[in-house]
Amino acid sequence: MTAEALIPVLQSTVIAATPLIYAALGELVAERAGVLNLGVEGMMLVGAVTAFAVGLGSDSHALAFVSAAVAGMAMALLFAFLTLTLQTNQVATGLALTLFGVGLSAFVGRGYAGTPLPGLKPLEIPVLGDIPVAGMLLFHYDVIVYLSLVLFVAVQCFLTRTRAGLKMRAVGEAPDVAHAIGHPVIRIRYLAVLFGGATAGIAGGYMSTAVTPMWVEGMTAGRGWIALALVVFATWKPVRVLVGAYLFGGVTVMQLYAQGFGISVPSQFLSMLPYAATIVVLVVICRDAKTILLNQPASLGRSFHPDA
């Protein structure tokens, strides 16, 4: 196989990885604040159907993505209200959010199935885009791909370089201490969850307007769950989310190109790869209980009562 043949594979890898980056970075922020939101899949689906509907109606991709982010935040707000204000169990509420998102998106999207949408176009970057090979590999993506890298840098800097990030991590590690020294634990958690909702919405929107520009019921096909696994895989560090997302992107596109490269395995088995890889990766990371114990935000998944 020649280098030219690899270019489309690598390009699709980046595109497949992008929704994972958004969803996983958002979930990472929420988890660093101590909130486990299992509703990523549901938020992504609602974001996907919103972006598709708005994109179709307005012909504007910008508007589509903004709406997707808002829709994801609305879902996240619901989750935050239940788990943070009403103190419901985070696991059960997250599951409910996903089940609700699956139902809601199918309900809203019923009229859109089978309608094509003009996909998001790659940016035309002068000069750089004309460099052979490297130009194709690095400078031929749509704006959302580049923004995913900006988002990564922003999250990384926020967590490690800013006062606000430090506060948020304190809330995730020891909410009672953070509360005692006067930080608004619940408010900070609300913001973290809402951020996760916005990025999950964008991730879903990217699926329905760029990866495969159409709406299909349940089209995220477990990517929200894979994003959750990625956060564990990344041991709650943004850099590793990036690496993990590209690895998973590669596994996801492998099924599309395997046949072209003469690998004759039934397509269903190739489609299993991302899910099987998720399990393998989880086993490798979790094998040593200490890895998780040392890296997982200490209060992850636990409700916080300021008064109790």
Binding site: L38, L78, L82, T85, L86, Q87, T88, N89, V91, A92, T93, L95, A96, L97, L99, F100, G101, V102, G103, L104, A106, F107, R110, P175, D176, V177, H179, A180, E217, A221, G222, W225, L228, A229, V232, P266, Q268, F269, S271, M272, Y275, A276, T278, I279, L282, V283, C286, R287, A289, I292, S299, R302, S303, F304, H305, P306, D307, A308
Partner: protein, 394 residues
């Protein structure tokens, strides 16, 4: 507390309210109906007519009642198994995958040994179905106990893998050669399908299995030591560890039991109303069963009732689609909404509403009282003592 709701304040109850524990699912169901009313209005339908079509018409005749029991059966079977785990904080959310594997394993017996009219084949199929579901659930049990891997993510990933495996089988090795290339297995013979329970309906004796299992599940959790150990593990993990109750055993037991019931549900579907192996053997029963388990308060009797309610939601969705051209997806919407309302209503198990703003000083609230470690229950799931109070640190 003072920073939050000003007019109505939440106050932690000294002990969880027994009344609210029962009333909260009813409240949730009522709130879901109210939401349905609004949704129907927004869709421009007459709510009265929509309610009739959705909730009454599907069960207005004998066949309809049969359909209600038919769809409630796999929901109850899966939920009964899941509840065992949820009580012990073991989160199997992949019943859908175990159901699929149960259907595959059970069908495999029929396809390799049959077609036959011999009576022995059906028990073998059921057994294989149960074992198939158990085997699929054994994977997350092994990975959790051996490698500390989250059973939530693993069970879910295995759903996709099971469904793809099923797709592979019906498109390939197990496709009916005489089936005009449709992706489905041959139809099962009469001996390979479960006997009907009610004439003139499609309900099979699987409904009896569900009721029997509910009784068995009640006995297990209330009367056996293993059931007690699991309950303690869920309510107070530290106490369970101190008492020397093995966490690993609980995880294995919870996953194997829920895998077994989901597998039984799967084979009962293909050897029942479906009658052959198809690319899709369940419209999401395994996921809906999570809602059933919660709405049913993780209690066998509650689960039976909740499964009937969820089954009605499926039937109502179909009926509304046919009669009023409402999207059948409204079913999924109602299911999700129901669970949300339940989780919110469960707040009142542990808290009560009280009027009026509090005094300016909240000293009382900051003081640590033994109450803070009182038994807490959220979403029907007992949780361990809440996070430390600031007062406790001093």
């Amino acid at each position: 507390m003072s920073a939050r709701l000003r007019v109505l304040e939440l106050e932690r109850r000294a002990r969880p309210s027994a009344v609210m524990r029962i009333a909260s699912p009813l409240l949730a169901a009522a709130a879901m109906l109210a939401t349905g009313f609004v949704v129907f209005l927004l869709l421009g339908k007459d709510p009265a007519e929509a309610f009739y079509v959705f909730f009454i018409k599907p069960v207005a005749n004998r066949y309809g009642v049969g359909e209600l029991l038919l769809k409630a059966t796999p929901l109850a079977l899966c939920a009964l198994g899941l509840a065992v785990g949820f009580r012990a904080n073991v989160w199997n959310i992949g019943a859908e995958g175990q159901l699929t594997m149960g259907a595959i394993a059970g069908s495999g017996v029929a396809l390799y040994l049959g077609p036959t009219e011999a009576a022995w084949v059906l028990p073998l199929m059921l057994l294989a179905g149960v074992l198939g579901g158990m085997a699929w659930a054994a994977i997350p049990a092994f990975l959790r106990t051996r490698f500390h891997t989250s059973e939530i993510l693993v069970t879910l990933m295995l759903v996709y893998i099971a469904q793809l495996f099923l797709s592979y089988l019906v498109h390939g090795a197990w496709r009916d050669p005489a089936g005009y290339n449709f992706p489905q297995s041959r139809a099962f013979t009469e001996a390979e399908t479960l006997p009907l329970l009610l004439e003139g309906s499609r309900v099979t004796i699987a409904a009896v299995f569900a009721v029997a299992l509910a009784a068995a599940s009640w006995f297990f959790s209330q009367k056996t030591f293993a059931g007690f150990r699991m309950q303690v593990a869920g309510l107070a993990p530290a106490a369970a560890a101190y008492a020397g109750f093995s966490e690993k055993r609980n995880i294995w037991l919870a996953l194997l039991l829920s895998g077994a019931t989901a597998g039984l549900a799967g084979i009962s579907e293909v050897a029942g109303p479906i009658g052959q192996l198809q690319p899709t053997v369940s419209p999401g029963y395994g996921f809906a069963a999570i809602i059933v388990a919660f709405v049913g308060r993780l209690h066998p009797l509650g689960i039976i009732l909740a499964s009937l309610l969820m089954s009605l939601l499926y039937l109502g969705g179909e009926s509304a689609q046919m009669q009023m051209s409402l999207p059948s997806a409204v079913t999924g919407l109602f299911q999700g909404v129901l669970l949300f309302y339940l989780l919110a209503a469960d707040l009142f198990i542990n808290f009560s509403l009280r009027r009026g703003p509090r005094r300016a000083t909240d000293d009382e609230d900051d003081a640590y009282t033994p109450e803070d470690e009182s038994e807490t229950e959220i979403g029907g799931v007992p949780v361990s003592a809440p996070t430390l109070a600031p007062g406790k640190l001093t």
